[in-house]
């Protein structure tokens, strides 16, 4: 009898074997489970550029890597108030916001067992000042950092800086205190931790660029603050993969994205969101070096009147965006809700302003945009409205931020799409209004009147600073320094069974160390 050749059996056998492996264990085991003594897994969307607090750049990803291992001097809460941490008391001395004092907590040790003192804190801040990180500009002129024998650290500035409590908090590099051993081995700071925080990085369990594992610090000064036996920070870059991971039970919380927030809600995840950054177009070339029309404030105002912010924001961000004209976010000084009415959608007025400035037929100009954070989409939407009033913008769009920075610093582009985190006016002004060329002010544009208003606001007492900051930002807005369309939310997703996750307008960075099991 002829035997039939088992033609299909090989393929079927392979497939069956493959799928059988899927049943080796039942279901997808969660990589973490909530509850005291258990593990926490959080998904971040990028690996740390460096674990060195002195050179880190501030974003929610980098902050999470540092917060676990480095206790801050001051803690900023979800309501924006500042409370003691490694500094038991702190505040400005005298008036003018030029001198600041912190009293350092006694009896604290670094993870390596060495004592944390005022001297080590001063050394850490001095290291961060000189390490070359971009946040050093936020300290401005505050270069005098000294320790006293009474356990105080004194910060002296040659000009006013009203934001020092924030800069010494867990949301900025200068608050993370580095041990003397870490400062002595600067190269090791990039890949290991040398702090006095709740956890230490376990390099053996860590795979660079994939996941970072933290275990409890045996020398931590407040053992009640340690909630987990292990904290894993897992890197997943793709927003859809982030959502799939947390839906599949592989993580407890994740940094989300407005594009997947609705899907996260539908999947039963808890979505925390709060206004985080503004997006629009930065009109760099106020002297008209590359695009002569931009030298005229009427042209810049026309570009503002030409766009329908509400339509753009709704189309791109849905319920996770709010139309705005302003550069700062509502919780910071310098914001005034009435300024959102300064530039209503009025293309007729826009064309009239262009005509008054001598461009009745419009003009064309090149424009740059990075594709991250929806910046390129916002830019293209704005370009669409500008085209209707005769302003033709030719877009160069980049996938890599490095290319975007290189292009804008080349000064070939008179304008570029931007996304800028909500910050106090003092920090914002270092990037946007001061002469040091950077990606937000590559042409080093300044305005004497604006400088005067900003200096007054920086030196003022808190009760007067708000109104002065609003005055400064109103002036810049009236001069058309930018065309903002949207205030965009940051989002975090969590599974049930976690508490301490907070994302509010007054603090958009959830403090990872405050997360704990429970509902």
């Amino acid at each position: 009898m002829r035997r039939r050749f088992p033609t299909g059996r090989l393929s079927i056998a392979v497939l069956a074997g493959t799928l059988a492996l899927a049943g080796c264990t039942s279901g997808t085991s969660s990589s973490s489970s909530t509850g005291a003594g258990h593990d926490l897994t959080m998904i971040l969307t990028s690996q740390p550029t460096s674990l060195d607090p002195g050179t880190m750049n501030v974003d929610p990803n980098n902050l999470a890597y540092e917060q676990l291992a480095y206790d801050p001097l001051i803690r900023v809460g979800s309501d924006g108030t500042f409370t003691p941490a490694l500094a038991t008391s702190f505040g400005y001395v005298g008036s003018g916001n030029t001198r600041f004092q912190l009293h350092i907590r006694s009896g604290v040790k670094f993870a390596d067992g060495t004592p944390l003192t005022a001297q080590t804190v001063a050394a850490s801040i001095n290291y961060a000042l000189k390490a070359g990180g971009s946040a050093a500009a936020w300290l401005g002129s505050c270069a005098s950092i000294t320790a006293t024998a009474t356990g105080d650290v004194l910060v002296g500035c040659t000009s006013a800086n009203p934001t020092l409590p924030l800069l010494f908090s867990q949301n900025a590099p200068f608050g993370f205190v580095i041990s003397p051993a870490g400062i002595a081995q600067k190269a090791s700071l990039k890949t290991a931790t040398f702090g006095a925080g709740e956890y230490v990085l376990d390099q053996k369990q860590t795979v660079t660029g994939d996941h970072y594992v933290y275990t409890p610090n045996p020398n931590y000064w407040d053992s009640k603050g340690i909630h987990y036996q292990k904290v894993t920070l897992k890197v997943v870059a793709n927003p859809n993969s982030v959502l799939s991971s947390i839906q599949a039970g592989q993580a407890d919380l994740a940094i989300g994205d407005p594009s997947t927030a609705d899907a996260a809600k539908s999947a039963g995840l808890t979505v925390y969101s709060a206004p985080s950054y503004t997006a629009g177009v930065d009109l760099f070339d106020k002297a008209g070096a590359v695009s002569k029309p931009l030298a005229d404030p009427r042209v810049r105002q026309a570009l503002n009147y030409a766009i329908d912010r509400a339509a753009i924001t709704k189309a791109l961000f849905g319920e996770y965006g709010t139309p705005t004209t302003q550069l700062v976010t509502p919780v910071y000084d310098g914001y005034d809700a009435s300024l959102n009415n300064l530039y209503g959608y009025d293309p007729v007025k826009a064309k009239q302003l262009l005509s008054d400035a001598g461009y009745p037929n419009g003009f064309s100009m090149p424009i740059e945009a990075w594709q991250g954070f929806n910046i390129a989409q916002v830019t293209q939407a704005i370009m669409g409205y500008w085209a209707k009033i005769g302003v033709k913008a030719v877009l160069t769009s980049d996938a890599a931020p490095g290319t975007w920075v290189s292009n804008v610093l080349s000064k070939k582009f008179p304008a570029a799409g931007y996304g800028y985190a909500g910050l106090p006016v003092f920090q914002t002004s270092q990037n946007w209004f001061r002469p040091a060329a950077n990606p937000f002010n590559p042409f080093s544009a300044t305005d004497p009147r604006l400088d005067q208003l900003l200096d007054q606001a920086a030196a003022a007492a808190p009760e007067a600073a708000g109104a002065l900051s609003v005055q400064a930002m109103r002036y810049a807005l009236e001069q058309g320094w930018w065309v903002t369309t949207s205030l965009v939310d940051a989002a975090y997703y969590t599974r049930k069974g976690l508490s301490g996750v907070t994302v509010t307008p007054k603090n958009i960075f959830t403090d990872v160390t405050q997360i704990q099991p429970g509902s």
């Binding site: 899927a22 990589s31 750049n57 991971s245």
Partner: protein
């Protein structure tokens, strides 16, 4: 040995071209390190510290002098030794590629033989399955597989990689979906080659002679026909392997698998040239090795073409 020596100028050419092309790209790793809010001066100072102001030839020469000793330098971003970064990731990519190749081969050969032997409906089904496999984009398939097997049915993980050291079962579970997503397209090419080669071999006179001499059909097909058809199949397996290497870049990103592909994508976005160079060397060596294995297989399959 001669074939291995030929790879040396190939490596030199590939690494130099990569160095040149990446150096010509606008941007710098300083932006990744300092972020977008640093001043132009700060970027410039860091570029100097990283040695990025030196001429291209000087930088390439330094890199080459280290590479021939096995030292690929350190990541400009993290400071980690490049060899350590890539050695950690190599097993992930190899697990992914080799597993997908085995799966694609098994599926492809099976479907190809079925298609060659069965005229009519069953052969047609095999043809259609092959066509579908080649038409579906692997990243789309990956997303569909994750939606079904991970999110809805919670059978398999959506992302991540579990090393073999943690057990065969967990390792395989973390790779099943990426294997399927990668293998389907490759199996189509192998199926087509198998069908054509098998049908050609089946039509040869020796088949009739063997059957007339009383050999079983199974023996004729397995030991003789398949072996005669194996050389073009072997070639297509080699081509599929190389294709899977490039496909793995996207699949590793979708599944957040810490392989060479995802490291290369991240390094390219960050202008981390030492990591890119090191990854290029690793990928080139894998392709060279695969081609060598395919050539050697010819000699094993057909002694008449055994290499000197």
């Amino acid at each position: 040995m001669r074939r291995l020596l030929v790879s040396v100028p190939l490596l030199f050419l590939v690494t130099f071209l990569t160095f040149l092309l990446v150096s010509l790209l606008p941007g710098s790793p300083s932006v990744t390190i300092l972020g977008p809010t640093a001043s132009q001066d700060q970027y410039h100072q860091l570029d100097l510290q990283l040695g990025l102001d030196q001429p291209l030839w000087t930088r390439y020469g330094h890199w080459l002098a280290g590479a021939v000793r096995g030292d690929f330098g350190s990541s400009l971003i993290t400071g980690d030794p490049v060899a350590r970064i890539l050695d950690e990731r190599l097993p992930v990519t190899l697990s992914l590629i080799l597993g997908a190749t085995v799966l694609a081969t098994a599926l492809g050969i099976g479907l190809g033989i079925l298609s060659a032997l069965r005229a009519g409906r069953r052969g047609g089904i095999a043809d259609v399955l092959s066509l579908v496999g080649s038409a579906i984009p692997n990243f789309w398939l990956a997303l569909v597989l994750v939606a079904a097997f991970s999110v809805s049915w919670r059978l398999l993980p959506a992302t991540g990689y579990t090393s073999l050291a943690q057990g065969l079962g967990p390792w395989a579970r973390s790779l099943i979906l990426p294997w399927i997503a990668l293998a389907l397209g490759g199996s189509a090419l192998i199926a087509k080659q198998t069908r054509d080669a098998f049908a050609t071999a089946l039509a040869m006179d020796f088949v009739v002679v063997l059957q007339a001499n009383g050999f079983s059909r199974r023996s004729v097909l397995y030991r003789h026909v398949l072996r005669n058809a194996a050389i073009p199949i072997s070639t297509s397996i080699g081509i599929v392997f190389v294709g899977l290497l490039s496909g793995s870049v996207l699949i590793e990103t979708v599944f957040a698998a810490p392989g060479l592909g995802s490291a290369t994508v991240a390094a390219t976005n960050q202008h981390d040239l030492p990591v890119i160079q090191g990854a290029v060397v690793y990928f080139t060596l894998m392709v060279v090795l695969m081609n060598l294995l395919v050539d050697l297989s010819y000699g094993w399959l057909n002694p008449r073409v055994r290499l000197p």
